[in-house]
Symmetry: C2
């Protein structure tokens, strides 16, 4: 395999450490996908002595940003420091030194993206920014590549987790705005100064970026109409619910015959829509496209490793482009052909799941004891057992049972013994149960 | 701009015509994204005389597949004919002639993918297959690229729209399986012979592909445990609902300490999960990844244009790789820098939405008449108006109003007149309402 690509990072805070931890924990899988290793070699930090949430023993720490952006050993610079002015200067300097750049900085792109992309274009390098919008959800990739066939009609996103947490709490628990905000601050979802989140500014940065990649227009943050969630009361949330709606804070970009609508504001959404059920700090973006129709992308919109996931995905994109035959950039099966794994596939008997069972038994004493004894013998614990009403013209009663996790093999044995019971009047109906959590 | 890339297609049925229609309708936007035009030049069809759902006046039609796969004018071959054996032969022949291949054929990839990818690797060409799984949802791209940082723990998908339509009908309307199946056939969602869909075979093909790109293992269809939905009764659907679950037909791939689980079967899912609320013919895939956590991808899993959307996305990927500087393959803002649009951004006053309004008025005769007159004057039609209970210690009553679409400007005028009414006891609370349909 080729030598590892060397990467430098500006900032080793929450997202920087999340990224470092992913690169180290998943080093093998990432190299199998990218075709070569990715080594975080240098990090520029504000304070060398600060304790960090990641192992820095293999990383050269420096307080001198030039040792990252001008470092001839470094191919790619990660800008994870935040802020706009200093970050702009360092990103432009890195580009001028021929570095590819990966950034998680939505404000930087919203304010200075047009300038930065022009400079990158002139220098023939990439600036990747998947992490700038909706955390680890690959929404930039979906819009730039996955939906490249489409004329995008509109998109609407829950793109600020703090605001969505507050509105969810107001809805589920009838809490006041101030109360829910304090809770969000206590849990670390909101900053001490929550202005950017609750006034919609953070969402406006992200919407600016989404609109550009959806419609092919320059970044134009100043034209985004921005309204926060501070005026929403729990009364409104509950009146909306009575009418069949939920209130969400949306970023909306829509193409009309007259021009583009770019707006961030709270909105009622019919509660049957999938996005109306996106709760807590989760993010989601709905895209309406002319050929595909509606599609939705959902996941964690913030946090160390979710954001790091997007940073590393961008890194892998850049490394694949640096490394592969350009006509064959992404391996067919995601991993390099010589790096496929021979991990065995289990037979279904070896699989454990929870189960729903429906049985029909004669309604007489002792039957339930027989049934539960069989479960006990096969070490199957019961989560719920419910006797349903006897159906018309039937001599038997249906019983519905939910079990905890059990191996398919044990369940098969239990079912065959159940079916031998004299009181059983039909075969056992069994459906697996998946909590997907 | 460079000359258009010439493409040949095998098969001009539903998906072929969907693809042709997209390429023609969105030719300009696609070229702005890809950096050059994409021209569907030759199509191999079974019957030259058949009438088709797309304009073929600029396409050379032939019954001779060699005029596509061996054609020196063609750079990329689309395999949209279906079936496995003939398609395998033609795809391998196209690869041998140095063509890149885009296919929507899940069975072809599930059965012959290992051989096809090996041959493509040897010849230095790409075989793209986004359309083979979950129609137009960019799930292959999400797994291969968007989640490249992650060790995937499991994925679970509703990846057969026919089956999901039947289960949704059984749930929503309490219908029998046979009845719902007949309806699916009448609506064109199910084939005359529905075996592949209702027995889970189609889902097993797709799960095979998803598991390979998620875990980096060879395609191994024969090891997928496959169970259909034919045994599910409307009784089970309704018992499950009483217990807080919905029954969905899932494809599940999970990594455990012992090996991989690959299985297709019906399952109960807690109804609060987003994927439990994916209804009708829609598809969705949940992916649990170690760094990102849970993410979900939702959209139409079949149909002419949704599938064509994925085919064309793959085409754009190949064309970008053929055309661009490899280090800068995807334009930063999705469209080529010299092809950005200057479509204007509207001011919020020009935007029309529906509205939720909450007002507080003194409870006396004539007030509601004053309120509705103001709406009428400003041409605002009312969808619902509900007087809520008077709150304790208040002299006024809250009234909640939902309006139809109206321009922000008109609404502002109406609100300022409302606030001048003598009976109004507080400011008007207004929240926009978006149906997102």
């Amino acid at each position: 395999m080729l030598e590892a690509v060397k990467v430098g990072v500006l900032g080793l805070g929450t997202v920087g450490c999340g990224t470092a931890n992913i690169l180290s924990r998943n080093a093998d899988e990432i190299a199998r996908r990218a075709g070569r290793g990715i080594q975080l070699a240098v990090a520029c930090v504000q304070n060398l002595e600060k304790s960090r949430d990641c192992d820095t023993s293999d990383i050269v720490l420096t307080e001198d940003a030039d040792r990252v952006v001008c470092n001839t050993d470094i191919d790619i610079v990660l800008e994870l420091m935040g802020g706009t002015e200093e970050a702009r200067g360092l990103v432009l300097k890195a580009i001028d030194h021929g570095k590819h750049v990966v950034t998680a900085n939505k404000a930087l792109i919203a304010y200075h993206g047009n300038e930065i992309f022009q400079r990158a274009q002139d220098k023939g390098v990439s600036v990747a920014f998947e992490a700038a919008v909706a955390g680890g959800i690959p929404i930039i990739k979906a819009l730039r590549e996955g939906l490249a066939a489409n004329s995008i009609e509109w998109l609407a996103g829950i793109i600020n987790g703090t605001g969505n947490y507050i509105l969810t709490e107001m809805g589920d628990k009838g809490r006041d705005f101030d109360d829910a905000l304090k809770d969000a601050q206590r849990l670390g979802y909101a900053e001490a100064d929550p202005t950017f989140d609750i006034q919609g500014i953070d969402a406006a940065h992200k919407l600016t970026i989404l609109a550009s990649v959806a419609f092919g227009v320059p970044l134009q943050l100043s034209k985004v109409y921005t309204e926060g969630i501070t005026e929403i009361t729990s009364k409104d949330v509950s009146y909306a619910a009575e009418l069949g709606y939920r209130i969400k804070h949306l970023g909306i970009a829509k193409r009309t015959a007259e021009g583009l609508e770019l707006r961030v504001h709270p909105a009622l959404i019919p509660q049957r829509r999938l996005i109306a059920n996106v709760d807590g700090v989760m993010n989601a973006v709905v895209v309406k496209a002319d050929a595909l129709g509606p599609s939705l992308y959902y996941g964690p919109g913030a946090g160390a490793e979710p954001t790091g996931s997007a940073v590393v995905a961008d890194l892998v994109d850049v490394v694949r482009a640096l490394t592969s035959d350009p006509e064959n950039r992404v391996p067919h099966l995601a991993f390099q052909p010589n790096a496929l794994s021979d991990i065995p596939v289990l037979s279904i008997d070896e699989v454990s799941t929870a189960y729903y069972l429906r049985i029909h038994v004669l309604d007489r004493p002792g039957v339930l004891a027989d049934v539960t004894r069989i479960f006990a013998v096969h070490n199957i614990s019961i989560e719920a057992i419910i006797q349903k009403e006897r159906q018309a013209e039937s001599t038997s009663v249906p019983i519905v049972i939910l079990t905890h996790q059990v191996s398919e093999q044990n369940m098969k044995c239990a079912i065959s013994e159940l079916e031998e019971l004299e009181a059983m009047t039909s075969q056992v109906m069994r459906i697996r149960l998946e909590t997907l959590s």
